[in-house]
């Protein structure tokens, strides 16, 4: 099956505006049937607009989306919306019991009593909220309420599952528990739904997405396999957003097969070797980037791809440790072990050539 045949939703020249200003521009984009797409981007990037437009709850000013090759406007609105399950950042539960809330979409679809009872019971159980079934929804904690909201969408066993920041209003611990249960619940849906999840949380994106789309200022900046987007961002803005904090401007000075030598602008002609499969010729201005978790303390004998500088700061980041190294080529290193460095101590760090990434620079 080729990609075209598997395309479930396509965007064709979509432009959405708010008060005349374009907030989303999607010349083209394809979402394959059954894939998990996570849309990331800073606040105001147009993520929620995209989700609402995909759900057909917001009509683009120009262009259209296609569902299985048919323009949205040629499909009866209700018929299309009943292929969806929508979960929003705020649970938006009705003033009714948990059970009634989860049954809501099924009742909208006029399913039989038996079927409704079975499905609600199943999804309450799978999302670990069966004991709350008779509780009034307005008495739940934030995490419980969001579980109900998820169960309400999952119970529809929809073809397309659209989620707008479903975990971001929760505290960290609740978020990780729910994320784990969410993944387990997702695996129970058969056939697997096409999932589009919008988030500004990179950890959620990395843990859920097969593909990641990066939206910035209303434009799709990069769309690719999650690992690819995080390790090989297309430009330095995307790189900054996906957490590639180490970025240096430089110029390619030599090309040896797939290896390129880059002279960095700062650091008195410091050169680093980069294993890059790209097409950047000698003389090209570039950005050199590396994720902080791919920077290591240099071994004694290491000579090339080594930067040196004083330790400025050591801070905990979740269970990891983040070391900020100063000097003309400041660098951030992220590791699992608490470093023994003292503030101000001169250290040397190693940048593995295969982990360094080159991006064109204007």
């Amino acid at each position: 099956m080729n990609a075209e045949a598997r395309a479930l939703i396509e965007a064709r020249g979509v432009v959405c505006r708010r008060r005349g200003e374009p907030v989303l521009r999607l010349p083209e984009m394809t979402i394959a049937a059954g894939e998990r797409l996570v849309v990331i981007g800073p606040n105001g990037a147009g993520k929620s607009t995209l989700l609402l437009a995909l759900a057909r709850l917001l009509r683009p000013k120009e262009g259209t989306f296609l569902y299985r090759g048919v323009p949205y406007q040629d499909i009866p609105a209700l018929e299309f919306r009943r292929k969806l399950g929508l979960v929003m950042q705020s649970p938006l539960l009705l003033r009714a019991s948990v059970w009634q809330n989860v049954a809501l979409g099924l009742k909208f679809r006029h399913l039989g009593e038996e079927e409704i009872r079975a499905r609600v019971a199943r999804w309450l159980d799978w999302l670990q909220i069966a004991p709350l079934a008779d509780r009034p929804a307005h008495q739940l904690s934030g995490g419980e309420a969001q579980r109900v909201s998820l169960a309400r969408a999952f119970a529809l066993e929809p073809e397309i599952l659209l989620l707008d920041e479903p975990f971001s209003a929760l505290d960290a611990q609740t978020r990780w528990h729910l994320l784990a249960d969410f993944k387990a619940a997702l695996a129970r849906l058969s056939p697997p739904p096409t999932l589009v999840l919008v988030t500004h949380d990179l950890d959620v994106a990395r843990s859920l997405g097969e593909r990641v789309a990066v939206l910035m200022d209303g434009s799709l900046r990069q769309l690719g396999a999650a690992a690819d987007v995080f390790a090989r961002p297309r430009d330095c803005e995307v790189a900054r957003f996906v957490g590639m904090t180490n970025l240096w401007p430089g110029r390619v000075v030599a090309v040896n097969g797939v290896q390129r030598v880059v002279e960095l602008d700062a650091g008195e002609g410091k050169r680093v070797a980069v294993a890059s499969p790209g097409h950047l010729a000698a003389g090209s201005p570039v950005w050199v980037g590396i994720r902080p978790e791919h920077v290591y303390p240099a071994s004694q004998g290491a000579r090339s791809n080594v930067l040196a500088g004083p330790v400025q700061q050591v801070v905990a980041q979740g269970p990891l440790w983040r070391v900020h190294v100063g000097g003309p080529l400041g660098v951030v290193m992220l590791g699992a072990d608490e470093p023994a460095f003292r503030s101000g101590e001169e250290i040397r760090v190693y940048l593995p050539p295969e982990r360094l990434h080159l991006m064109p620079r204007a």
Binding site: L86, S90, L94
Partner: protein, 233 residues
């Protein structure tokens, strides 16, 4: 002061013995005001929903008109309805002047803006995103509206209580279009006015007691309904 106590005692006796005329007036009051309230709900709730949920040109103007309508003086309503129903008026052929129908129409005009205004407020208090969420769960337009009404049921019942309260206590319009005809259009408020003007204070007090009791019982029933909903939250 004697006559006040005497009046209260007589009122008590009247009620105790179930004076057929008083009961008849009370029953008519309930029918007329109940019908007017029901009619204002049936027409006012959909209009209020439209005004609350749909953006269209002139919406704000319509909304402020209905808000003003909440303070509509009953005598003005009585005058307008009289003009229309008068034998030579545009609707004179109906022959409704001095009938309970005319009173229902007048009371409806008083209750209608109350229902519309308070329904708009009730529905606009809901989280705007709830509409998107419900549509995203596959609600048809009808199911969406029904779910929103259910969600706003407490303030919507408050709108019904306010509407009923405004018409059952109203006297000007009922007097003008109903005429206070004994056995036909006499309701509690108009009867109280009459008894008071005749110096029959005992009867006036008795009728007032019945009116208060009736208003209280209906409001109590609606409140119980409302609070049963509140308890379910």
């Amino acid at each position: 002061m004697d006559w006040i106590l005497k009046g209260l005692w007589q009122a008590f006796l009247l009620l105790l013995h179930g004076d057929p005329e008083v009961l008849g007036i009370a029953w008519r009051t309930l029918k007329v005001s109940g019908a007017a309230t029901l009619l204002s709900l049936v027409l006012g709730l959909p209009l209020g929903t439209l005004l609350a949920l749909v953006e269209f040109p002139g919406r704000r103007i319509a909304l402020s008109a209905f808000n003003t309508g909440m303070a509509l003086p009953p005598v003005v309503v009585g005058l307008v309805v009289s003009l229309f129903l008068w034998r030579s008026g545009p609707l004179g052929e109906l022959g409704w002047m001095y009938t309970p129908q005319a009173m229902v129409v007048a009371q409806f005009l008083i209750a209608f803006p109350v229902v519309v205004s308070l329904a708009v407020t009730a529905l606009q208090q809901l989280d705007r995103r709830l509409r998107i969420q419900l549509l995203g769960l596959g609600a048809s337009p009808g199911q969406l509206v029904w779910a929103l009404w259910r969600e706003a049921r407490l303030p919507l019942l408050a709108a019904v209580i306010a509407a009923f309260g405004s018409v059952i206590s109203e006297v000007g319009a009922s007097l003008m279009v109903g005429g206070n005809l004994r056995g036909r259009t006499r309701v509690l408020t108009t009867a109280i006015v009459l008894e008071n003007s005749r110096g029959e204070f005992a009867a006036a007090i008795a009728l007032s007691a019945v009116l208060l009791l009736l208003a209280y019982l209906i409001t109590l029933a609606l409140t119980l309904l409302q609070q049963r909903g509140a308890a379910q939250e």
